[in-house]
Symmetry: C2
Subunit: 122 residues, 2 copies
DNA sequence: AGGCATGTTGCCTGAGGACTGCTACAATCG
DNA sequence: CGATTGTAGCAGTCCTCAGGCAACATGCCT
């Protein structure tokens, strides 16, 4: 009943919109800078693409570039694997299989041991 | 100078061929069981697809099925992320970013601490 | 030798993805 | 008010992917 469209949280679009606004760009301004039409950008931000899926990886790339954002963050929101991550994963697959099989809580604790930082309250 | 074709080690094709032979299938026997033409299978095994890339995820799936192989293993060889892994990664992206940024040796040691040993025969 | 099963390769095509490029419309604002 | 902005629909384009097909080579068996 819901291929996507309604109800889906849409983190990517929201993030892009926020970035765009923070730069003071309108859709019509930004579009040519990343080489697409403004109406397409609108659809991206609202997660209203004709088909089901994300915009191309290369568009994400250009957006990160122009909006001076963290490319990997955007890639992940669009459900693309950043290159560096992909390399590591496919290089040591079993290792990551082990990790993904861990219960989330344990995984989190393991990582927090490695990397102390990362807290919530500001 | 080398889009791919030559020199690439081709782990996926080799693995599929091994599995196929171990089941005593010829290309022509196996092909209909996974719903593709035998010549396409040959290309898959030899990594001679027209373009650069892997066969479809769904073909990998059917191959794992028919050949009674570990699906995730094949998916990873074909550079597809197994669903479970993808879910975890996109669910907790920063966590995996941290992990992939670790030097390989450290990552390995961390994991081996979690999972004692992959070791040993029954 | 012939025949047949097997594997390899090059060209071809159909479907779908990633957009373009309009157009029209509603809301906002200065 | 007019100008700017965002939303939406839809036809049409271009390209890549995934696989099909026919022809070819090679081996093996009696």
């Amino acid at each position: 009943m819901n291929t996507k469209a309604e109800s889906r949280t849409n983190a990517l679009g929201d993030r892009i919109r926020a970035l765009r606004k923070s730069k003071g760009y309108s859709l019509r301004k930004l579009a040519p800078l990343v080489g697409v039409g403004f109406s397409y950008l609108s659809k991206v931000e609202n997660d209203r693409l004709d088909f089901d899926g994300s915009p191309s990886e290369s568009l994400i790339h250009r957006l990160a570039d122009v909006l001076e954002a963290d490319e990997d963050e955007l890639l992940l929101l669009a459900r693309y694997l950043p290159q560096a991550m992909a390399d590591r994963i496919f290089e040591q697959p079993e290792l990551f299989r082990t990790l993904t099989e861990l219960p989330p809580s344990k995984l989190t604790s393991v990582v927090s041991r490695i990397k102390p930082r990362k807290r919530s309250p500001k």
